[in-house]
Amino acid sequence: MSLMFKRYVPWGILVAMTSMVAADTIIVQTDLNNMIKSATTALSIIGSFAVMVSVILLTRSHAGKIRKNKLAVESWTLLGCMWVMIIYGLYRFIFAGVRPIAEPTIQYIFNAIVAPGDSTVYALLYFVIASACYRAFRAKNMRSLILLIVGIVFIIGRAPIGQLLYVGMPDLANWILNVPGAAMVKALLLAEVISSFALNIRVLLGQERGWMGRGD
């Protein structure tokens, strides 16, 4: 019985839903099309609730860390920031009717703290990449020499200064992207699609059960 509910019921639902969605794309039948439309709406609503579930899970996870006194300061900061924002947003929405998206304080916090902070972290990567390029980009053999040349052409060619250094540099960079680059990306994409197709068939046949969670 337990195996029935743990394995076969979720698998049955998956097979039924997948078949119906596939049928919806190729069959024009009002009842079927409406049913899939309702299912899509339901999925979007579930998606919205998933944000709430992640807030609860994040709180649980960091409350555990605080109890164990493991990275407590960081966890307190994260939970404090998150819950102050949630409570303040809900308070303004309930008592003043202002939606969080149009709330000036939340906008200000985003523009003054979140956006520059996140952008700074991302920009720091640039410095790390510069240091890594200096150390790791070595023409030790023919393959690394090709990588090195392509890297330099691309770095310089995509910046406006590339044309000042050599008129043909942007064209060279664009050729790399358009010809070998596009060929490689298309091959990768094709491989990705075929492997995803194979995986989906395995899931539908019940050979792949990782998505059901632990124990199966």
């Binding site: 709406t41 999925l43 920009a123 406006p160 596009a182």
Partner: protein, 289 residues
């Protein structure tokens, strides 16, 4: 040239190879800050073909065409994608296009607000809000949500401010309230826009795909360019070239000097690192011989 003595001291080339990262960070800092203090005025140069294609395609569309923006502009991509978004909106205002904006990333909501305020002046209080532009806010459901929205534009029911979509002039004027009425869908971020091609352009071929992508995702666009992705703005450079084409210089053009100098600094560092590597090898070979 070598300064070593009896194997105890490292040669100049060895020391150059093991240079302290702080020195490299310092060089990069100067490369980024110098143009901010003293602009170099590096010309934009030739416009990339993907930007020209996009510009020409937009030019071929009649006024009132519907352009849809899936604004995945989370704070981490603000520096690269936000200038693209603003450049797009400026062009749409110039050409009197109708614009729908939404995001599937909750952290991108303020970026949409900021962009609308910067270009239109006001958001929901603008007299043309609900007529020429609409902000749908967060659209949940990932690709399924996008698919449902493309099939029925009234699927989200309310906009970001709680207004009913069915009551808006924007949607009332649409004869076909599906992606068949759209002419371009624009994505952002670093994940590529393959999902827009698959969910929108493949199903509704009249609607082409474009993007204001982070530079790291540029190669992924070439699988679909130029048939399904009609053109795109690749990072800050793409945004700057588009700003130049539409004749409205903005933050992207202002950032080009810094990007040029920083790119040049990285290339020079790579060359110096390699020169040091080969010189050190040669010195050791001579000593060994």
């Amino acid at each position: 040239m070598a300064t070593e003595t009896a194997g105890t001291r490292k040669s100049v080339w060895d020391r150059l190879q093991d240079i302290d990262p702080k020195i490299i960070y310092g060089i990069m800092l100067i490369a980024v800050f110098l143009p901010l203090i003293r602009p170099l005025g590096v010309p934009i140069g030739n416009i990339n073909p993907e930007v020209t294609n996009l510009y020409n395609y937009l030019n071929s569309l009649p006024a009132g065409s519907i352009i849809v923006h899936d604004c995945e502009i989370s704070p981490i991509y603000m520096a690269e994608c936000y200038p693209c978004f603003v450049a797009f909106l400026n062009e749409h205002v110039q050409r009197s296009f109708k614009v729908i904006m939404f995001t599937q990333d909750t952290t991108a909501l303020p970026a949409i607000e900021k962009g609308i305020t910067e270009v239109y002046g006001k958001t929901k209080d603008h007299p043309n809000y609900g007529k020429t532009f609409v902000n749908l806010g967060f659209l949940p459901g990932s690709t399924l949500g996008l698919n449902a929205f493309a099939a029925d534009n009234l699927f989200p029911v309310l906009d970001a401010y709680g207004n009913k979509l069915a009551d808006m002039q924007f949607f009332k004027e649409m004869a076909d309230k599906s992606a068949r009425s759209w002419r371009l869908v624009v994505g952002y971020g670093s994940g590529g826009v393959g999902y827009l091609v698959q969910q929108i352009t493949d199903v509704y071929p009249n609607c082409k795909t474009s993007s204001g992508t982070a530079a790291v995702a540029i190669p992924s666009h070439y699988a679909y360019y130029p048939n399904k992705i009609i053109g795109f703005l690749g990072g800050l450079t793409g945004a700057a070239q588009f700003e130049y084409l539409i004749g409205k210089p903005g933050i992207a053009i202002a950032g080009m000097d810094a990007q040029s100098l920083a790119s040049l600094a990285i290339a020079v560092l790579i060359v110096v690192g390699n020169v040091a590597y080969f010189a050190a090898r040669r010195t050791k070979a001579v000593r060994g011989g």
